[in-house]
Amino acid sequence: MRGNNVLGLIFSNVHEEKVRELTDTRTMGSVPFGGRYRLIDFPLSNMVNSGINKVGVITKKNYQSLMDHLGSGKAWDLSRKREGLYILPPFGSESNINNSRIESLASIGLFLKNSKEDLVLITDSDIVCNIDYADVISFHVKNDADITLVYRSGKVAYGVSNPSVYTLDPDGRVRDMLIAPMSDGECSYGIGMMLIKRALLIKLVTDCVSRNLYNFKRDLLQRNIKSYRVFGYEFSGFTKAICSMGAYFEANMALMLPSVRSQLFRQDRPVYTKVRDDMPARYGLGAQACNSLVADGCVIEGEVRGSVLFRGVHVGKGSVVEDCVIMQDSEIRQNCRLSYVVTDKNVVIKDDRSLVGFQSYPVFISKGSTV
């Protein structure tokens, strides 16, 4: 049965400054990941797999690639007569155009008001994970919560901007919230997902705007943490925040681990993405591949080790690609040596080129470049 009284909202432009190279011409949500996905596929699929029937994607800028990717929402089964996918572009006068989350939420006031779901699930698009929101929803209902914040326990990953750290009661009630505290120990930190009553969201947003307060974490959440029933839901499955180029690279490499793949790509909760109709990957005579993730449409005639190859990548004869992330339709011609390189889409590496980066600082080749 579909439809569970929850409206999904995805911020597609958050934390883009953290991976400037990748978000130069696109949104955070449309950053390619894991051989065939875009980051937004994860929150979107998680929502659909949890029975959410109506999803709004909030955009701010550079959302051409995102719209191209999402299309009508068909690939996520969200192209529907009754609800489905809503792309929410910036709205309003120039001065208040979605500079902050609160402004974005205020600008979709009508959309929120006209929705009939009682709850709203708000997520960022820079977190890679496979989470069953149905559990979060039943947790929220069981606790009669006003707001449920999804958190993880452990050390906050390096590079996460302004992490929220929660103090929780044993029953899961959030008693206090600190933003970017001085601490490097174990803590309970937010991962950019919350469930909130729709009426309350509208009220809090209106409240903030009327007081000229525009910081979502500080003004909307922290200020109200004691006045409402705020609970924390712990998620302990595989989670990776794309908060730096290093983290992006690591997250891709983590997919080589069977344990990570089995958590992220579950048969009962598949990750959907736009269909491309490529033929299966073809390995030629003398090709060698090991410990790599290879998508449809690739043609491999050289050697690939420890790398993620997106759809339609060509590795020519005599080339060695080691510890690299090679995005869609890039072409590595003959006798090249690539190590710790991240190429964006449609990059051409001509014959005999050699490029070497380092694990914590991979070389990045921007979209459409020729080396």
């Binding site: 894991g34 051989g35 065939r36 068909k74 997919l255 080589m256 069977p258 793949r261 992220l264 790509f265 598949p270 990750v271 959907y272 269909v275 491309r276 109709d277 490529d278 033929m279 299966p280 990957a281 073809r282 390995y283 030629g284 005579l285 003398g286 090709a287 060698q288 591949a289 090991c290 410990n291 790599s292 993730l293 290879v294 998508a295 449809d296 449409g297 043609v299 690939v304 993620v308 190859l309 339609g312």
Partner: protein, 411 residues
């Protein structure tokens, strides 16, 4: 009233394909998986959309469940448009004279009503058992240019194979003077590909006449085409050059899959301007492990390869365990090849498990008696026990295994 369509395609997909044995036990031939992610019917359907044909009737009869489900509303092929698109046409009951499709011509005859709704000028008749990429719009243009009543696509085949085909004997202007069905002594090597363009008004007339003839077998090759020739209608051969393969037998299906691994075979499925569309599995990219060996192979999404593959076509979700070897074989979706199993010259169908150390098929060079050699076929849903040896040319299906297990249990 629906908007007029200049060309309507009718795809004959009702055949059982009995020569494919266990592979077509539960599905019609056009639904047989091919090339790591496709089904045979993806080729004519994709050719239609790529040629600008928007209306396709798919005539089904034998085991239509998988095929119906696969075609669905036609969306993967862009055939879900408002006034046109793909329609599945099974035989149906009417107030009198209801019948199964008695032959290829009768199948079209029973759907005259469907075709008439689009008031087409031309009807193109296709079959669902060939792998090829062809621009039908060029063939229709040729048909118009020649002022033909019927145009038959023809391809040159090696002379020694000609007796297996319907041979078209033509004059210098391309017009056909004789249609020779499987001749013992062929006069030419120009073989009919089973693709016909008809001027609809003419075809309709012949279909009705054919239906009225109780002695007719209601078949295009045996009845309609000869009748048109006898009456002196303008019939032309349209020369096609390129890859075309009938995949109606185990050997030809196996060969055609292997052709995809040969860079010298002119069948590129990655061509942007002529994509072959299909229903795509929702799976992550495939993973090749540290100790795997992968060469000369086609690997689809969701596979996990820990063993060794060479000249293999792996469909989505296949698992090759460490130490397992797959050579010169086709492994269909979600099959597991367990540790140290060896699969050679075989077609292993969907949802199978080949147990540890089992040996399926053999290489021709390892067999003394060449007559005993052939491609081994494992039907879907089989669990081949560990250590079992399946000889070359064998054909195994799940019911057979169950019976055998029951017999063994009684012992």
């Amino acid at each position: 009233m629906l908007p007029k369509q200049e060309v309507v395609a009718m795809l004959l997909a009702g055949g059982q394909g009995s020569r494919l044995g266990v592979l077509t036990k539960k599905l019609a031939k056009p639904a047989v998986p091919y090339g790591g992610k496709y089904r045979i019917i993806d080729f004519p359907l994709s050719n239609c959309v790529n040629s600008g044909i928007e209306t396709v009737g798919v005539l089904t009869q034998y085991q239509p469940l998988v095929l119906n489900e696969y075609i669905g509303n036609g969306q993967p092929w862009d055939l879900d448009s408002m006034n046109a698109g793909v329609r599945v046409l099974p035989p149906y009951q009417r107030s009198r004279k209801s019948d199964w499709y008695k032959g290829t011509a009768n199948a079209i005859y029973q759907n005259i009503q469907f075709i008439e709704r689009y008031s087409p000028d031309y009807v193109i008749v296709l079959s669902g058992d060939h792998i090829y990429k062809m621009d039908y719009s060029k063939m229709v243009a040729y048909h118009k240019e020649k002022g033909a009543d019927c145009t038959i696509a023809a391809i040159e085949v090696p002379m020694e194979e000609a007796p297996r085909f319907g041979i078209l004997n033509t004059r210098s202007d391309g017009s056909v003077y004789e249609f020779d069905e499987k001749p013992k002594a062929p006069k030419s090597n120009s073989a009919s590909m089973g693709i016909y363009v008809f001027t609809w008004s003419k075809l309709r007339k012949y279909l009705e006449a054919d239906e009225a003839d109780p002695k007719s077998s209601n078949d295009f090759g045996k009845d309609i085409l000869p009748a048109m020739l006898r009456a002196g209608e303008r019939m032309f051969a349209y020369r096609f050059e390129g890859y075309w393969k009938d995949v109606g037998t185990i050997d030809s299906l196996w060969e055609s899959n292997m052709d995809l691994l040969d860079p010298n075979v002119p069948l590129d499925l990655n061509e942007d301007s002529w994509k072959i569309y299909s229903r795509n599995p929702v799976m992550p990219p495939h993973y090749i492990s540290k100790n795997a060996k992968v060469q000369n192979s086609l690997v689809a999404e969701g596979c996990n390869v820990y063993g060794e593959i060479d000249f293999a076509v792996l469909f989505s979700g296949v698992y090759i365990a460490p130490g397992a070897v797959v050579r010169d074989s086709i492994i269909m979706p979600n099959t597991r090849i367990e540790e140290n199993a060896v699969v050679q010259y075989a077609i292993v169908s969907e949802n199978n498990t080949i147990g540890r150390g089992a040996v399926v098929g053999a290489r021709p060079e390892d067999i003394a008696d060449k007559d005993k050699w052939g491609v081994t076929v494992i039907g879907d849903g089989c669990a081949i026990p560990a250590g079992v040896k399946i000889p070359p040319k064998a054909m195994i299906d799940a019911d057979m295994l169950k019976k055998e297990a029951a017999v063994n249990a009684r012992k």
